[in-house]
């Protein structure tokens, strides 16, 4: 096939074979080492994922416990105390001989009962907003804003402009996220104004909550799941993950905080 001398052929075959072999052996070694590296990386990633899932689960359990504590405190300190007062008033009223004083006492008791009914409604709304179930997310958040603004201490503006409605199953998570962010602004940021905006584009819903509060150091929320730094953000993170979304926080000292959450429409 080739016009070569015996010695040349020997050299060509030996050199060619050696070159081919070196090449394939190098490739085999590369595959082995690269595979091993990939396996180690996968293990590491899996470990991180497990840790993350564990922390997420922990934050959810803690969130539930916190919610129960809040409910217990509401029942005990507010409704429980009111009911005790009502009972005491009724006992006094039953022993009261003077009709006029008895009437006054009953009037006062009726007022306590009204307050108790209000408290029960408040607790119940906190547990599951009736508006959310009956009228949807927009109305529920609007009601929340109105309730907060009604106190006069803070003004909450709200804008809801979406071209398609939220999936019903996700509404409660969005509502809780808004509730938690507003709570944070009230409790920690000392904000005067809060703006809630929900808009959408072709692919995603965008939820934006900003305030003009004291802001905070972003370094402290690098890992929002860190239990020591509070569970509020961990709960938000957990709910965002459930919605397959992602989020971004911008905060500046004494200027305010802006939280932007993107939730894909197809999950």
């Amino acid at each position: 096939m080739w016009e070569l001398e015996g010695n040349d052929i020997f050299l060509v075959i030996i050199a060619g074979t050696a070159m081919f072999l070196l090449l394939v052996i190098a490739l085999v070694i590369f595959v082995i080492f690269y595979q091993r590296k990939m396996y180690k990386q996968q293990l590491l990633l899996q470990e991180k994922e497990n840790k993350y899932q564990k922390e997420l689960m922990y934050s959810f359990v803690n969130g539930q416990e916190e919610e129960r504590k809040r409910l217990a405190a509401d029942l005990h300190d507010d409704i429980g105390a009111m009911l005790s007062t009502i009972k005491m008033n009724l006992n006094i009223a039953s022993l009261q001989g003077n009709k006029e004083e008895q009437g006054e006492l009953l009037k006062e008791t009726r007022s306590f009962l009204d307050q108790t009914i209000q408290s029960v409604r408040r607790v119940s709304k906190n547990l599951l907003p009736v508006a959310l179930e009956k009228h949807g997310l927009d109305t529920a958040i609007r009601e929340l804003c109105e309730r907060l603004s009604a106190s006069g201490e803070i003004y909450v503006s709200y804008d809801f402009r979406v071209s398609e409605s939220f999936p019903e199953k996700d509404s409660i998570n969005i509502f809780r996220i808004v509730q938690e962010l507003v709570n944070n602004a009230l409790k920690h940021a000392d904000a005067q104004n809060i703006t809630i905006e929900i808009i959408d584009n072709e692919n995603e819903f965008i939820l934006c909550v900003s305030d003009d509060g004291v802001g905070f150091d972003l370094e402290h929320v690098d890992n929002p799941l860190n239990i020591e730094k509070g569970i509020g953000l961990a709960n938000i993170e957990g709910r965002i993950k459930l919605l397959n979304g992602d989020w971004n926080i911008e905060s500046a000292k004494n200027i305010g905080t802006k939280v932007k959450i993107n939730i894909p429409k197809t999950q």
């Binding site: 096939m1 052929i9 075959i13 060619g16 074979t17 490739l27 396996y39």
Partner: protein, 224 residues
């Protein structure tokens, strides 16, 4: 020398074949294809020896047996490749290519089959097998990581195959020239280096794979 040569050429694949048959139930489809390959190798070697002894010319069988050799090895590689698209590539492109290329050789050189060696087909075939093994490695890299590739019996076989076909590629390329110009070199490359090095490595890796069969399934290293 002759005894060792005979052992590597006949006894070694035969022992592997018998061991494979004993462990047949533990073998996956890829390993079963390898058993067919071993059977084909043993039978081919016997036929080649028979022609050489009785007719003093075994060129005819020597020229035609690589076709099935390449097809079986390609079938094996397509079976162990972990990406469906690459499996299809080997099945729908490489195997038909062997048949077409060989048919062209038969058509153009049918009168030369028992007179000269046909090294081009062997060279091209070897090259394509090397490419197929590289595709298998690519599929290994992109599909999923293994804790240790040497637990994977098919990877061990693939090392043997790539060393064999890459190592003999140049020999096949110059086979006819060697045969016509320098019989000593022809013998050195086709017997000594080919049999004592590359053929031994190929059969050894297949034997190791057969012995390992059934032990590595727990690790998920069974290939396709």
């Amino acid at each position: 020398m002759g005894l060792v040569e005979d052992f590597i050429q006949y006894i070694f694949p035969f022992i592997s074949l018998i061991l494979g048959l004993i462990k047949f139930k533990k073998l996956d489809r890829g390993m079963k294809i390898l058993l067919v390959y071993l059977f084909y190798c043993v039978v081919s070697e016997i036929i080649l020896r028979y022609y050489a002894t009785v007719y003093r010319n075994n060129l005819f069988y020597y020229n035609i047996y690589p076709l099935l050799d390449f097809i079986i090895i390609s079938a094996y590689i397509s079976n162990i490749i972990e990406l469906t698209s690459l499996k299809k590539w080997v099945r729908r492109v490489f195997i038909p290519f062997f048949v077409v290329a060989f048919s062209i050789y038969l058509f153009t050189q049918y009168d030369q089959l028992d007179k000269v060696t046909l090294p081009e087909f062997r060279s091209i075939g070897s090259f394509i097998i090397v490419i197929s093994v590289l595709l298998y490695y690519y599929s290994l890299l992109v599909k999923r990581p293994y804790p240790n590739l040497f637990f994977n019996q098919h990877f061990i076989v693939s090392v043997g195959l790539i060393i064999y076909y890459a190592g003999t590629f140049m020999t096949w390329l110059f086979l006819e020239t060697l045969f016509n110009t320098n019989l000593d070199l022809f013998s050195l490359f086709t017997s000594t280096i080919h049999i004592f090095l590359f053929l031994f490595i190929k059969y050894l890796t297949i034997l190791i794979a057969i012995l390992k069969a059934g032990y590595s399934k727990r690790l998920g290293n069974v290939g396709a």
